[in-house]
Amino acid sequence: MSTAVTQTWYMTERQLMVFLRQPAYLLITLIQPVVWLFLFGSLFKEVVELGGFGTTSYLDYLVPGVVVMSALSSNMWAGMTTLDEIQRGTLNRFLTTPVSRAALMNGNVVSNGLVTALQSLVIVLLGLLGGADYPGGPGGVLVLVVASVLLGTVFAALSNALGMLVQERESIIGINTFLLLPLTFLSTAFMAEDRMPSWMRHIADFNPLNWAMVAGRSALSEQPDWGEVAGRGGALLALAVVAVWLSIRTFRSYQRSV
């Protein structure tokens, strides 16, 4: 057991290094959310006056939305790394060593989770600098970060599965481009639930992005609805487990195709 944990760490470390040694990639991951925060913060500043946002500052409302959206947009590319490693021969090299198969698969998911946590914290801090208020305190921030990491895990695992299955960059790019904005706008990222058309609200109920936002916002509010937090958080956790299980299944079928 401890070997599997150690090996997972080796694999995680390896992936993190790839991330840290490509400054452009790191910069984009950290700067893009700032752009979102600034753009949407300025653009929609006044919608908060419509009411229903549970706060008088749009930035308070926006931060969890941008945290979750950024978690989605950085994790959905995980499959590209997997694809690279298949094509480069790295995956096959590790498969002929005694490294635990779980460590091989999970290294990618864990490293993505750590990057997502860091990214989420940076956004929360930037929001704080910009004058956002988080009445829920550190506990609320923790819930938001955990929720965004879980959401990231769902999409990283699915992206990995897709990468192994189709082994084509174009497919990953196509699907991601297709999903990112609709998933974001079919959630409460920028607009309070009460202000959304009712059909959109119904769709948002089934959107995992929205689960993460609702859980995070509730935990950050003055009087968190812990039942809601637990419900949405639990659903995210369940979905993450299913996605990881699915990616492991795909991994097995990849091994059979070698």
Binding site: Q7, R14, M17, V18, R88, G89, N92, P98, R256, V258
Partner: protein, 343 residues
């Protein structure tokens, strides 16, 4: 474990990939410990698939394989601890340095601390990578990457090292350097090397025993000298002006086979213009051969005399010239397999 037991025993391996592509049909391989064994054949002959099965990467549809005393299907983990694998593309992390790649590889096998560092220094020095050890692998030349790949396969001092097409894609200079390196590895105490190659010259030079693989199975096996020795005398290759069909073959066989000193008459594939004749003394037989062909009215465009080569062995056992088999493999449109290399 007894050191006399074979390092590799594979029996009747078969493997068919989706889409009814038969990669192996009854592959048999036995490798004695401490030797260099070469699997020689054109692309698509089944060499890489054999290596994938022996290194626990792929599972055969049927058949058995035991590597370093462990069954590849029942105890893949034990096999993995005993082998080193240098695949056609080993995929060292390009952003990590050579040293970091070796460190990770060593840690996977449970090496650490001073022992691991000592081993890494030793390998870096051996593969002349010490000066570039702290540079990211993406700055390495093709030859340096290949040497790092081999070093990665050796970190844990494996009993059996698999080298899948170790010099494919290298320039001639780097290839010669790699040959010297492999020849030196072969001298290592007890290390067994299984090498696949589609270069006749490479197999001839490095391997103590060679199995010639064609269409998913071994067609002949032996030491390079045995294989060449079975072809008594010199090879006289003649290129005719006109292609020869079935009838032409019969005619030519009749005209040439009975000549003094001529052992064997072999034709290249149907419709081609080449004939190979095996003769005690090629130079002496040449005028007689040319005379005999002239008498039956067949014009010769070119003729050469050569000492027996593995190409002649290949022609004899696979029924076609090596270059033809290669061209056929390419013409068939090489299947791109997930991961690395052809079947």
């Amino acid at each position: 474990m007894s050191t006399r037991a074979p390092a590799v025993v594979a029996r009747q391996l078969t493997k068919t990939y989706p889409g009814d592509v038969t990669a192996l049909c009854g592959m048999d391989v036995t490798v004695e410990p401490g030797t260099v064994f070469g699997l020689l054949g054109p692309n698509g002959a089944g060499k890489s698939t054999t290596v994938k099965i022996l290194t626990t990467l792929a599972r055969p549809d049927s058949g058995t394989a035991v590597v370093a005393g462990h069954d590849v299907l029942r105890h893949p983990d034990r096999v993995r601890r005993a082998i080193g694998v240098v695949a056609q593309s080993s995929g060292a992390d390009p952003v990590a340095t050579g040293r970091e790649n070796l460190q990770l590889q060593g840690r996977i096998y449970g090496l650490k601390g001073a022992e691991l560092n000592g081993r890494i220094d030793e390998l870096l020095a051996r593969f002349t990578l010490t000066d570039s050890a702290r540079r990211p692998v993406k700055t390495y030349s093709g030859g340096m990457r290949r040497r790092l790949d081999v070093a990665l396969g050796l970190v844990h001092r494996p009993q059996v090292l698999f080298l899948d097409e170790p010099t494919t894609g290298l320039d001639p200079e780097a290839r010669t350097a790699m040959w010297d390196e492999i020849a030196r590895l072969a001298g290592d105490e007890g290390l067994t090397i299984v090498l696949t190659t589609h270069y006749l010259e490479e197999a001839d030079r490095l391997a103590e025993r060679i199995a010639i693989v064609d269409r998913g199975r071994v067609v002949v096996e032996g030491t390079p000298d045995e294989l060449k020795g079975e072809l008594r005398g010199d090879a006289v290759h003649m290129e005719l002006r006109e292609p020869i069909g079935e009838a032409g073959r019969t005619l030519l066989r009749g005209a040439l086979a009975g000549l003094p000193g001529v052992h064997e008459v072999l034709f290249d594939t149907v419709g081609s213009r080449g004939i190979s004749v095996r003769a005690d003394d090629g130079a002496a037989a040449m005028p007689t051969l040319l005379g005999a062909l002239e008498r039956v009215g067949v014009a010769v465009a070119a003729a050469t005399v050569a000492r027996p080569s593995l190409d002649d062995v290949y022609l004899r056992y696979a029924g076609r010239r090596y270059a033809e088999a290669e061209a056929e493999a390419e013409g068939a449109g090489e299947r791109v397999l997930a991961g690395a290399g052809g079947a």
